[in-house]
């Protein structure tokens, strides 16, 4: 995507900008369509709470990283751009990590190494490289937020099903009534294991492609 200087005054939420925000939610979803960032989906979606915190963290990191790189885009020498991107992401991730440790310590411990591993989340690097380096600040910000949100909702959906069927709880509160257990219901132990996250993502992809047939030929 190249910089467009012919339109100096573009509406903040023009159709083109809106597309940047909404495409990654659906037909250009980083997980469902581009199949990026799968490892963290497998690792931290056992519970809805950790999924939520992870989703918010990634939204924050990605929004800011895209803005910062977009601001710096004229000053970064192309040969060292990857290092610069990594430095920016890493600083933001450390910030998020410190905030989590300060305010929600137990969740931070559950997420353990995966907060640090946001740095290696291919979605973030991918968007910096493909979009923020060549675009203005506001579109870059929208693109970052959009992609992170696209990643986030899949995370939340997977976390929802895995916690509901795997532990019978949501956000830590038990939602399956006791009488269900009394008549013989059991929590599904397979849901807690990583393969089920993969299968859940697979089912989401299946449903999405069934609804939007244009996606079928993409990958």
């Amino acid at each position: 995507m190249s910089e467009n200087n012919s339109m100096p005054k573009e509406n903040l939420l023009s159709p083109r900008n809106r597309k940047l925000l909404t495409d990654p939610l659906g037909k250009d979803n980083p997980i469902n369509v581009q199949v990026l960032g799968i490892c963290s989906v497998l690792a931290i979606t056992v519970q809805l709470r950790t999924s939520l915190v992870m989703a918010i963290s990634v939204v924050a990191v990605m929004g800011f990283a895209n803005v910062i790189i977009s601001l710096l885009r004229h000053t970064i020498p192309p040969r060292i751009r990857i290092i610069v991107q990594l430095t920016v992401i890493a600083s933001l991730v450390i910030l998020v990590d410190q905030i989590l440790k300060a305010f929600v310590y137990d969740i931070s411990r559950q997420l353990s190494v995966f907060v640090g591993l946001i740095i290696t989340n291919c979605i973030i690097m991918g968007r910096l490289e493909a979009f923020a380096l060549n675009n203005k600040v506001w579109p870059s910000f929208l693109d970052g937020i959009g992609n992170a949100a696209g990643y986030g909702w899949v995370l939340l959906a997977v976390g929802f099903f895995r916690e509901l069927f795997g532990s019978g709880t949501l956000m830590g509160y038990s939602v399956i009534p006791q009488f269900m257990y009394d008549i013989g219901y059991e929590d599904n132990g397979l849901m807690i294991l990583p393969p089920m996250a993969l299968i859940t993502v697979g089912i989401i992809i299946w449903v999405q492609r069934y609804k939007d047939r244009r996606l079928i030929d993409i990958s």
């Binding site: 059991e186 599904n188 132990g189 397979l190 849901m191 299968i199 697979g202 299946w206």
Partner: protein
């Protein structure tokens, strides 16, 4: 037969294009071809049609499964009365077994066929007969004490994730029946391991050990059943897998009708004996000390060898590939059993694992054939 055929022909127009129940044509077709050999005629290409279509192949497997099922029904009753210490006639044992086993079979068929019919209607393809066999295999590889809703959930999972996502019968990578068992094994471990192998309520069975021979070996306590008992099958275990005799009868039917591959069966047995023999030579613990042939009659080895490993869809297709595939199943099964104490039964995992590898094995077998022939070609001097 005549009145039935007339009835089918009479209602047929309603289901064909333009009829009232056009949407349910696939459902109708499934029943029609179940009752009568379809009258399809090939219009192009080769004009030879084998009467042995998929539906009849599946029926042969069902016949081959009958000895194991009937023995399983009796054994469930026998084990129950033996565990509770009540004297019971043969007929009582069979009745108790029927009460326990029949609902599982019915639930397995209803949930699996419901999914098959739904997908056939949505996608407008023929109802696949593959489930006729899977629906019978699933009850036979789980303990009789499994709750019915779990059977249903596992069956639905196996049919959708194991088969329909890949495109239905014939496209599946994994054996659906084993996938159902694997689902139960990992999702509800307490219902598929430990002392769950005898049907009956907890109060009835208080103080009775229901461990299988494999569990006895893995835990290291309890009494091992004798080799003869294990061969005949009068031991606790999954419904259909205990009796090696009944399974052998089934194997004869499968091999005689050409449905099951003798190559796979023999090579699985060879692999099991080989690995059992090697571990027996090392013999550092109790599990390794048992004679190699014990592995063949314990747990699900015989059942898996005859009915699961020979599944024509998920097994290797090439001749040499079948030997490699079978041998590795046998070796892996014994290896998992003996070396990994967390999984006392290795058959399920070994077959699923090799199912995934079967296409790779086939690929290399075919490639090596091509290479060999190319070499032979080069040796022949070119004629002018």
């Amino acid at each position: 037969m005549k009145p039935l055929h007339d009835l089918v022909e009479k209602v047929k127009p309603h289901f064909e294009k333009g009829g009232r129940f056009e949407k349910f044509y696939r459902t109708f077709e499934a029943f029609e071809t179940f009752l009568f050999v379809p009258g399809n005629v090939t219009r192009r290409g080769s004009h030879i049609r084998d009467a042995m279509d998929m539906k009849r192949t599946m029926v042969h497997v069902i016949i081959a499964l009958m000895p194991a099922l009937l023995f399983g029904i009796w054994n469930v009753g026998y084990q129950h009365y033996k565990a509770t210490g009540v004297e019971a006639e043969f007929i009582d044992q069979v009745v108790y077994g029927l009460i326990q086993v029949l609902p599982i079979v019915v639930v397995s068929y209803i949930s699996g066929l419901a999914i098959e019919f739904i997908f056939a209607t949505i996608r407008n393809h023929e109802v696949n007969e593959g489930f006729l066999v899977s629906g019978m295999l699933i009850p036979l590889v789980i303990p009789a004490s499994t709750p019915l809703w779990m059977v249903s959930v596992a069956t639905i999972f196996a049919v959708i994730i194991g088969k329909e996502v890949f495109g239905g019968t014939g496209m599946n990578i994994l054996n659906p029946a084993l996938l159902a068992r694997a689902f139960l094994f990992f999702a509800y471990p307490s219902y598929l391991s430990g002392e769950v192998w005898i049907a009956g309520t907890a109060e009835q069975l208080d103080g009775v050990s229901g461990a299988t021979a494999l569990a006895v070996l893995a835990i290291g306590e309890g009494e091992m059943p004798s080799a003869l008992d294990m061969f005949l099958g009068t031991i606790p275990g999954s419904i259909g897998e205990t009796s090696t005799v009944a399974i052998l009868l089934g194997a004869i039917v499968l091999v005689a009708t050409g449905v099951g591959s003798l190559r796979i069966m023999l090579s699985v047995v060879a692999g099991g004996l080989l690995m059992g023999g090697i571990l027996n030579l090392v013999a550092v613990n109790e599990f390794m000390e048992i004679p190699p042939y014990y592995h063949l009659i314990m747990g699900g080895f015989a059942f898996g060898t005859v009915y699961m490993a020979t599944d024509p869809v998920s097994a290797s297709q090439t001749g040499v590939g079948k030997y490699i595939y079978g041998l590795l199943i046998g070796v892996l099964t014994v290896l998992i059993r003996v070396v990994n104490p967390a999984y006392p039964e290795g058959m399920m995992l070994a077959i699923l694992f090799m199912n995934v590898f079967a296409p790779l094995i086939d690929h290399y077998v075919v490639q090596s054939h091509i290479k060999k022939r190319m070499k032979r070609m080069e040796k022949i001097p070119a004629k002018a």
